[in-house]
Amino acid sequence: MSEPKNGVPLLEVRHVSKYFGSVIALRDISMQVHAGEVTCVLGDNGAGKSTLIKILSGVHTHDEGEFLIDGKEVHFGGPRDARAAGISVVFQDLATVPLMSIWRNFFLGSEPTIGVGPARVLDSGFAKRVMREEMGKMGIDVRDPNQVVGTLSGGERQAVAIARAVYFGAKVLILDEPTSALGVRQSGIVLKYVVQARERGLGVIFITHNPHHAFPVGDRFVLLNRGRLMGSYAKNETSLDELTKMMAGGEELERLSMELEKLAADPGLKQVARELREEAG
């Protein structure tokens, strides 16, 4: 897995840049996404992660560079084009409607119907069956398709969104900070679904600022900092420690911990400072 795969990547960007007026949001970013691999995009707030997602999902168009799907250059006119090309984004907050049942959520926006004209009604039997099968493939046994999504755990809700994206033909799955609002256990569950999507042959792009979540599941790691590519590594070329250090910007962190220590009158802050220094190594 760690060796760069032969063959054409599912999705590739080469030297892509994006400007908003005079602001350089992204400069010279290159990355590849292969089928059956998890590509982690790591970066702190403001690193350009969301701009990159928006380019990949068709919300923004890039100003420079190339964007290739299956080796062919593409220019998306909008999110619909991206979805048609098999790129699906699961947004952390926008995954599901809490008060609606699992099967209604699963088919929301692409409802299966039977009958014609004014007698065209939802094919709820089909919807429930497919939803169960697809959730089963993710390792979730849904016994009651009418259960509302709001009663599911945060991790399970992400799973509904992921299963939906896969069912509707996603080849590249972009997960936008899927673990950032979750507790430790729920994060673990989501990471399991990330691996499951990979095993099913999808190219997964996993956006996060947490190297502890990225490292166990990632096959390659793309680090962004202030809109630039800070590094791109296969799994065997790096380690969790290294990733953490690069993410935090080692020197910056050390300086920050010193400043904190000076300010720290109360023991709580001292503790934070100590941890920061440890992270900085």
Binding site: M100, F107, T113, T151
Partner: protein, 362 residues
């Protein structure tokens, strides 16, 4: 869960740590499942209110529980019901329409003006009124969708604009506060037989009751069985999530506003034809009764949850109260207090239900 599930289990999914059903969800009984229905509270409430007024009925021969009494309370409830269903769907879609009450007056007055001033055939007038209402509804909806302002404010403005226009135009044209419609107008008889007549002699139930029942059935089917119904729940439940999966959020909301305004037009037409005329103040203040009926029927003010049947039951409770208080020989002003208390209770119950339905385990 296993209690309610009749379908065969799919082939056993690979059981991995944390993947199975949470054990805390295992014991949901049929009773709990029923309690999660949005209309159940309204059904129990309607039965309770019916029993209350059947008990305190002071009329000779206990009119409230007789068929004649039923004619009375269905008459009172029917126009509330037609509107409550529309307002409920709009509320499930996450929006309000405070102009829904005054819109019944505006529509009836427009019909009166067209018949008496322009001498149009009543049926032509009805079509024009419905188109007009569709335009007003679309204007409400587009303003809400485009400005992203709360529909409460937008439709409050519409309410006041229409309220002024209703009285102003009526006085300007008639020098009175009322349009009188002659039953000799072309098309009046046939139109009245559809919109403002009675059936089941000698009890003479109002036509509006049939409209109310039909609209409730159709709205329920649309809400629960169609793609559009799915979208209504989605745009009210989480508009951004709905948009992210390709639901046309704006269009769904505009259609709901149009439906509400056109329902108001139907009610305005009914009033104008039944009473052969219409007052310029018709409908003002009724919007709150529609909202009460919808909320009592289990709709959440925040959207995304509710039912058309529930809203109809809410309207029925209003009908019970309106007639029951008269039959009980109470001062009719207690009617408002009574509805206020009912609303309090309903909102309390709804809040508990929603917390149960929407609370997330993290």
């Amino acid at each position: 869960m296993s209690v309610a599930s009749t379908q065969p289990r799919p082939s056993p999914a690979p059981q991995q740590a944390g993947a199975g059903r949470d054990e805390r969800l295992a014991g949901i009984s049929v009773v709990t499942r029923l309690l999660q229905r949005p209309e159940l509270g309204a059904l129990i409430g309607a039965l309770a209110v019916y029993l209350l007024f059947a008990t305190v009925d002071a009329t000779p021969g206990h009119l409230f529980t007789s068929i004649a009494g039923m004619q009375n309370w269905t008459d009172a409830a029917s126009t509330y019901g037609i509107m409550a269903v529309a307002v409920a769907l709009l509320m499930i879609g996450g929006e309000f329409d405070l102009s829904a009450g005054v819109m019944t007056g505006t529509s009836g007055l427009l019909l009166g003006m067209l018949i008496t001033r322009q001498q149009v055939n009543v049926w032509v007038g009805i079509v024009i009124v419905l188109i007009f209402a569709g335009i007003i509804g679309a204007a409400n909806g587009l303003l809400v969708v485009r400005t992203k302002l709360p529909s409460f404010i937008i439709t409050l403005a519409t309410f006041f604009v229409l309220r002024g226009v209703d009285v102003g135009v009526t006085r300007l044209l008639t020098n009175t506060v009322r349009f009188d419609i002659s039953d000799q107008s072309p098309g009046f008889a046939s139109a009245q037989s559809i919109f403002g007549s009675t059936f089941l002699a000698p009890y003479n139930f109002q036509d509006a009751v049939l409209w109310w029942i039909a609209i409730t059935v159709i709205a329920t089917l649309v809400l629960t069985q169609t793609t559009f119904g799915n979208w209504i729940f989605a745009v009210g439940g989480d508009a951004n999530a709905a948009r992210a999966v390709g639901v046309p959020v704006g269009r769904t909301k505009v259609i709901l506003f149009m439906y509400t305004a056109m329902s108001a037009a139907v009610v305005g037409i009914m009033v104008a034809l039944r009473f052969k005329g219409i007052q310029s103040g018709q409908g003002v203040g009724l919007e709150f009764f529609y909202i009460i009926a919808a909320v009592v029927g289990g709709c959440l003010l925040t959207g995304g949850y509710g039912s058309a049947i529930g809203a109809s039951l809410g309207a029925l409770i209003i009908g019970f109260a309106q007639i029951g208080i008269i039959f009980a020989n109470w001062d009719s002003n207690w009617y408002y207090t009574f509805l206020g208390v009912i609303l309090f209770v309903a909102v309390g119950v709804n809040t508990v239900v929603r917390r149960r339905a929407a609370s997330a385990r993290r």
